[in-house]
Subunit: 287 residues, 2 copies
């Protein structure tokens, strides 16, 4: 397995493979890899001849006020990540530093701007976040030129934004969304879980419980009780609700349902636990 620290090393490794017509799968990550990432890599390994994983904590997507600490504190563990990726059969790891990605200023002049779609839900709490995501992902697509790129469904809005990036700018590749991986206690895997104390983690479980309860209601035809879910999260110990919303699964536009569901929907949610912000979501299908 090659670990490329520069764009040139990456291109030198990929150009001959591309000339040979090998299919390439890309798994973009910010490192601090866990079983969720491993499931992305496994899927990419299954579907492509060459698997590239990028590890880059992208400052652009932390640009909003108050995100500085989150950027500084984001876990970095390149050696452990490289070992995990080697075990998963990855061919090339691309792990550039900020200057290699964005030049001496550390900032691009041109950005991909996500508009309305990036301003709602997660974007409402983190202005500019999805612009930073879309910009770095566009760069990675151009550097790696994959046939397929793999993203975790846990970041549901990110998946929707990236699908739109590919559609609106005609990137010639397929986006594959991979289901959420959960720990035995129900918590969705996240690099940020490392920063939870045991008590925080116990408190955080209310989120997946609330989502499972909504899923159960949808699958048994009971009316969805979004207000009830809010109330449960607002009254939970050690947790602060950021948002929980029912949205159209394809467009992420807010959905109001009076009777039974009439289309695939998502409940997307974010909470704060201690110093950590956690997100989760669940798909609800009409009966």
């Amino acid at each position: 397995m090659l670990v490329a620290r520069t764009k040139k090393e990456l291109l030198d490794a990929l150009t001959p493979l591309r000339t040979q017509g090998r299919s390439i799968g890309l798994v973009p990550t910010m490192g601090a890899l866990h079983s969720g990432h491993a499931s992305l890599v496994a899927k990419a390994r299954e579907e492509n001849e060459v698997v590239v994983t990028s590890i880059f904590v992208n400052p652009l997507q932390f640009e909003a006020l108050g995100d500085c600490d989150d950027y500084r504190n984001y876990p970095r563990q390149l050696d452990a990540d490289v070992a995990l990726l080697e075990a998963e059969g990855v061919d090339v790891v691309f792990a550039p530093d900020v200057e290699e990605m964005y030049g001496p200023t550390g900032l691009p002049m041109l950005w991909v701007r996500t508009g309305e779609m990036g301003e709602r839900l997660e974007g409402a709490s983190r202005p500019g976040h999805f612009d930073g995501v879309a910009t770095v992902v566009a760069k990675l697509f151009n550097l790696v030129r994959p046939d397929r790129a793999y993203f975790g469904q846990k970041d549901a809005q990110q998946v929707a934004v990236i699908r739109r990036l590919v559609g609106d700018l005609d990137f010639p590749l397929e986006i594959c969304a991979v289901p959420i991986i959960r720990a035995a206690d129900g918590l969705a895997e996240s690099s940020r879980n490392q920063r939870l104390s045991d008590a925080d983690r116990d408190a955080a479980l209310v989120l997946s419980r609330v989502l499972f309860d909504l899923e159960e209601r949808a699958s048994t035809g009971q009316p969805l009780d979004i207000e009830g879910a809010w109330a449960q999260l607002r009254s939970a110990e050690g947790v602060r609700l950021d948002h929980l919303e029912l949205v159209d699964a394809a467009t992420l536009e807010p959905l109001t349902v009076t009777g039974a569901l009439d289309r695939p929907a998502l409940v997307v949610a974010a909470i704060h636990v201690g110093q950590v912000r956690l997100i989760d979501n669940i798909e609800l299908l009409p009966r």
Copy 2:
């Protein structure tokens, strides 16, 4: 020569050529082709095995208030353009309609935003213009995946913005800028020249005369007299000065020169003549 009206027709034509490893040159145009475009195509023909020319009057780059008429009035002459491109030895013409490019809404949700660089000079008169240019060019790069793309130096700011697009988003291709083609009377070739009356055209010639004069001063080591150039354009009959500025040739940042030039510079200018807005520029080299 194939004329592809859809993305699918374009991809079907290019995929086998790409698999064979043929080099591809792209010349993006808005049609109404003249000798300036022919020089771009000739250069692309010289340097690539396959030449693709796109013809698409991109509504996104006319989005600013007041640009609607310019968009509606922009000359459209597909048959004549196709004949010219066939004669120049082009392999594939890509001529989609607006819905094919942008879908049923006619607008992307994600845009490439050019920031400060797109807000100065031409961009000051045409807010959003360079965002529209960068967005459609990103799409064309992804659809055609050329090895080289050709742009006229006449649109000096466009060349600078596109170079930055390629650098900031890591598009894997080379940008080639081709010198301005001028008519015998000095007027820079432009599709908009078609809309000039004979009297307008005579009036418009003051612009290239003023630029040639500045070039002469720079080459003979006389002080540049930008204020004098402004005065000449402001007092010229039938002409309204939009802007004339001395800028750094690489960054397009404004330049103040007291003595002789110490680096490559551009004078970029725009005037209104009748209903038409014309641009021109000239490169000034230090002695």
